[in-house]
Structure formats: structure tokens, C-alpha cells
Assembly symmetry: C2
Homo-oligomer: 334 residues x 2
């Protein structure tokens, strides 16, 4: 592994051996519905609380990823996982059932990228054979924790995003598999002073632009090196701000720029305003739609740059601004 | 790096180049008071909220560690940090001021060990020259978030622990320095069914024992290999349970077994019941007391096994049991 200006170049190029994605009913009815491994109609997953269901979604996507790679949990060297819940409980409780060495991560909606990044660092350095990376989120538990109880029926602003109910999991491997991670740029905490917790896209866009600028500078790759630059969940608002920020730098990435939060819901019919968000958004879109499409030949090189807004309701109530982060992972198919 | 049954053996043995610890008034009045770099009498650190103060403690310990290594923040390749606050805000907001690539971690009170562990993985694999690892906690923000508002004056149970106001930071380096990290055992999530959120020691002790058993088996080291086995913050209750669990296995580590939560407060005079806890407990004891004492020759080989209870108030209210984790880091001086 080499570090060129905070971009880690992986000498052994960890493979993504398998992946799985499980989503809720609304996500299943969206434009990507047919791509996910499983769409669950019951938001409770038969459990007693949304928090337990969120943990259950994580467990299901992990199981699918393991099964697709013909692995059992005992084959896994490390699990890297995180989520949006206070004290990252959905991943902690999901990891309890695995009984494997575990690293808890927190990068808000960027956590899937953080998990793939640190998983690649572990594999590249010889730390193991198989690493399980997974994140998830749940609309109902997130609304209850971050905003207002669902029963309150609060109005949503036009820039607000809809937390995805779902989870994505990927197994990283040292074995030769078609899809590989060749390098990754680690995000910095960027804060341009946005205070509106209902405008996470606006808060996260500068972090996304910062990471991409550093990525292209460090790798010396042309802007059109990638077939697809996939932001985590900037949503419609954040995506348009990011395009504008690049435009001011006289860069145009709009032709190959997509956003997981934009892709997962239909803006016209699903009433999700600025699009999807949550750790489960970029994880399920990457693991359920993008990686399978890579195998089918649709994309050859993608830059997966998940984004996270690192605020909390407590700090928002204290009039603090919203720090954000974005980690970018270069994923290629050979 | 090699992985022997979840124990990572670092071939390049990352050094701990410097360290700093800042604590609050009560910690400064405790048995280790004279060892810390700085004792702050103002729990607010001159800021408007306890949450902002918690972030401030983290920033101060980072600054001290950087200064002692004659480094500026620009020399740092990566920052690895986490805390107990919802959405890990004290570390996210502290990292904002650093403008360096950042990994947010969550391992409850075990986070300092997780941060040193992943920092070592990054350095060992060639990921950089200097890595800043830091965690912190604050009694007032933790009570408000996890228990009851301070003004309520809630009674504390005998097994309850007192969240340390403070922070510890360490700079890991590829350069030759006396103190080195030679290997580390990654924790698993262990849950023996404890439901009492005021008995974290009881919940965490089995995770500590699990990690130590796996560590000694993987390394083939005798029990007395270490001068000191330092648990994170099992407190008096958890320490005595851990001793009992080892006793049942016909192992006796009691001669060289200390606990950060036991060391930091005086049981008789400071009214902290089972002792200290919080991400800042093991971080400040390690960085303020243990590592400097290693340099003075008191310890040659220590096993730092911080422990974390991965519960949240929400899950506790749902009658969930408390999953726990412990990561163990072998630190030696040459």
C-alpha cells in the first residue's frame, strides 16, 4: 500500500467477492426495485421494534453476501460495520450473532465507503482472507431518532431526504475475482457552515467535491477515467450543488455522475423530495444494483464516493453547523 | 502483517511517538492527577455546552500529543477518533479543525484501543508516516445523554461507573521510537445477557476474558509475559468478575492486572462507586500515566485491553441485553 496525498494505492488490489442488498417496501417499489436481492414488505421484519428490524436488515444482507460467496461466518476474518443509530447499535447487535472480530465504524451515510476502505487496508496488508463490510439504515428508526415520531406527521421541506430502509453487504477477498478495489481517497471533515439539518445535501456537497479534487490530483487520472462517479446520497439538491461547484472550477463531471439517493426513489411518484439517504442507501444501491451491473458489463470503472453528514440533533439544537465527509473508492472490473 | 487467529502481528512494529492527556477537575483530584498533562477546572472549557467542551478536551489532547512530537497537524496522514456522543460528534467536530483525512470509529469505551489498532494496521501496511489516535468523554454530556439530567440528582447504584471527563491522544509513527505496538487481538461482540445498564463492568468482563483467551492462545505467550494487563474500564465490579472468570479457567492474572477505571478515581473518597468509564478513561490513563511510566522504566510490556459496552438507552428501554467488545494491544518498550 502506498499513500499519495491521502489516496491509498492498494498493491494487492482486494477483490469484492460477493454482495447482497435487502430493502424495504418503498425501496422495492422504486426504480431499482427489481435489482435488490430481497424486498421486505414488513418494516418490522417480524420483530418488536424498528431498531431490531434495522439490525435484522443488516443481518439479512450479510447472510446473502456470505451465501453468494459460498462462505460461512466462520470464514470471515473481520466484520466492519456501522449505522446511524445512537451508539451504532444496529451493527453492534448484528455483529453479536456473527461471533467474529468486529470493528465498529461511524461515518454517517458515508459508512459503507469507510468500511470498504478500511477493509481493503486490512486485506492489502495481509490481515486476512475475507472481510465482511456492511451498513444499513431504517426510515422509521431514523425519523424517530433524528426528527419527529412518525405519528406526528411532520411536514418535510423540499431539500429533505428520505432515509432508506435497507442494507448492503459486501465480502472483500484476497482471491482473484473480477471486481477489484485499486485505490481509495480518505475523506476530510469539511464544513461550509450549513445549519439546516433538512439540507444534508447542501452540507455534504463540499465534502464530496473536496475528496474528488484530491482524488483526481493524487491519481493524476483524467475526469473521464471513470464510467461512473457515484456519490453516496447527496440527493437532488446536493447533486445539483456539486455540479455547480465543479462548474465553478471549470470541471464538468455531469455526464458520468450519478447519486445513490437520486437513483433509489422516483422523484415524481414517491414523494421523497430530495431523494434517499442513510447508511443503507449507498450500501444497497452499490451492492444491489451497481456491482451486479459491473459484472454484466455496464460499468468498467467506478468511483464510489459515499458522503456523510456528521451532525447530531443535539448539536443542531445548539445551532452548530454540519460537518461532512466523503470517502472515495475506485472499483474496477478486469 | 500476519493474522494468527484474529491476532494481527505487525511486521513493522508501529511506534507510539508521543501522547497527551487532558482531564477534568475530579480526575485531576484523583490518584493519577499529577500525571496528566493538563487538568481543566472548568467543565465547560469556556464553551457554551458540555458537548462543545467534550470536543474541546479532544482537541487539547491532540494538540499536546502533536506538540510533544514536534509535529503540526499537516504532518498527520490520518486521524482515527471516536467518542460516546450520539453520532460521535465530539470527534467529528474536533476533526473539523484538523482538516486531515479522518476515520470515525465507534467501540464505546474500547474506542482508544480500536483507534490504536486500526492506526497500526494503516502504518504497518505503508499507509503513512504519522497517525493521530484520540478519544474522549465528558461526565456531564454522558449523564445527560445516557442517564438523567444532572439537575435531577439521580441516585447511583453500587455497580455504576462514573464517566471520565477527559481525553487522551497518541501519535503513531513509522520512525524508530522506544515504545512500539507489536501485535493486537481484535475483539468479538460478546453478550452474556446482562440487561442492567448500570452494570457495564459485568457486561464487559466476558468480552475482556474472551479477547485475552484468544490473545494468549494466538501468541503462545505465557500469562506472565506482560508486566501489566490493563483493562479499559471494567471498574471494581467488572475487574472482580474478570478475575473470577479467569480463576474458573484455573488462570490467575491478578498480580499484574490493573483497570483504568479503578486507577483513575479513589474509591474511598471520590464517591464514584465502581470506578471510571468512558472513552476518555482508558485513553487518558494510557496516554497520561501508563505510557510515560513505560518511558521511566516501570513497565516493559503491557497488554492494553480496552473494553466497551455497545448498548444504547433506546435498546436498554426495549429490554435488550448489552453486547460488549474488547480489543487488546500489546505495547512494548525496547
Amino acid at each position: 500500500m502506498k499513500n499519495i496525498n491521502s489516496t491509498l494505492i492498494f498493491e494487492n488490489k482486494p477483490s469484492i467477492a460477493s454482495f447482497g442488498a435487502v430493502v424495504g417496501k418503498k425501496e422495492g417499489e422504486g426504480p431499482l426495485g427489481k435489482y435488490f436481492d430481497l424486498c421486505e414488505n414488513d418494516a418490522y421484519l417480524g420483530k418488536k421494534s424498528w431498531e431490531q428490524a434495522e439490525s435484522g436488515f443488516l443481518g439479512e444482507s450479510m447472510d446473502i453476501a456470505l451465501k453468494k460467496a459460498s462462505l460461512s461466518k466462520d470464514n470471515i476474518d473481520f466484520v466492519l460495520s456501522g449505522d446511524l443509530m445512537n451508539q451504532c447499535t444496529s451493527s453492534g447487535y448484528a455483529a453479536r450473532g456473527l461471533e467474529r472480530p468486529f470493528f465498529g465504524l461511524y461515518g454517517a451515510c458515508s459508512t459503507m465507503a469507510e468500511s470498504l476502505l478500511l477493509g481493503s487496508v486490512l486485506l492489502d496488508g495481509g490481515g486476512g482472507d475475507y472481510i465482511l463490510c456492511a451498513t444499513g439504515s431504517h426510515f422509521c428508526s431514523a425519523e424517530k431518532q433524528f426528527r419527529t415520531p412518525l405519528e406526528y406527521g411532520g411536514q418535510r421541506t423540499p431539500t429533505s431526504q428520505w432515509t432508506v430502509t435497507g442494507s448492503g453487504a459486501a465480502v472483500l477477498s484476497r482471491k482473484e475475482c473480477p471486481i477489484k478495489i485499486d485505490c481509495a481517497t480518505v475523506g476530510r471533515v469539511v464544513d461550509w457552515g450549513i445549519k439546516d439539518a433538512n439540507n444534508m445535501g447542501g452540507a455534504m456537497a463540499p465534502a464530496f467535491v473536496d475528496t474528488l479534487n484530491r482524488h483526481f490530483k493524487a491519481t493524476n487520472r483524467p475526469l473521464d477515467y471513470y464510467d461512473l462517479i457515484l456519490s453516496g446520497d447527496l440527493g437532488h439538491t446536493g447533486k445539483s450543488i456539486a455540479n455547480e461547484l465543479f462548474h465553478k472550477q471549470k470541471m464538468d463531471i455531469s455526464r458520468y455522475f450519478e447519486d445513490c439517493g437520486v437513483l433509489i426513489f422516483d422523484k415524481e411518484t414517491q414523494d421523497t423530495h430530495s431523494g434517499g439517504s442513510g447508511c443503507g442507501c449507498s450500501a444497497s444501491v452499490l451492492c444491489g444494483y451497481i456491482l451486479p451491473e459491473m459484472l454484466k458489463g455496464k460499468y468498467r470503472r467506478i468511483l464510489f464516493a459515499a458522503t456523510g453528514a456528521l451532525m447530531s440533533p443535539t448539536l443542531t439544537m445548539q445551532s452548530e453547523t454540519i460537518p461532512s465527509i466523503s470517502h472515495a473508492i475506485s472499483i474496477t472490473i478486469e
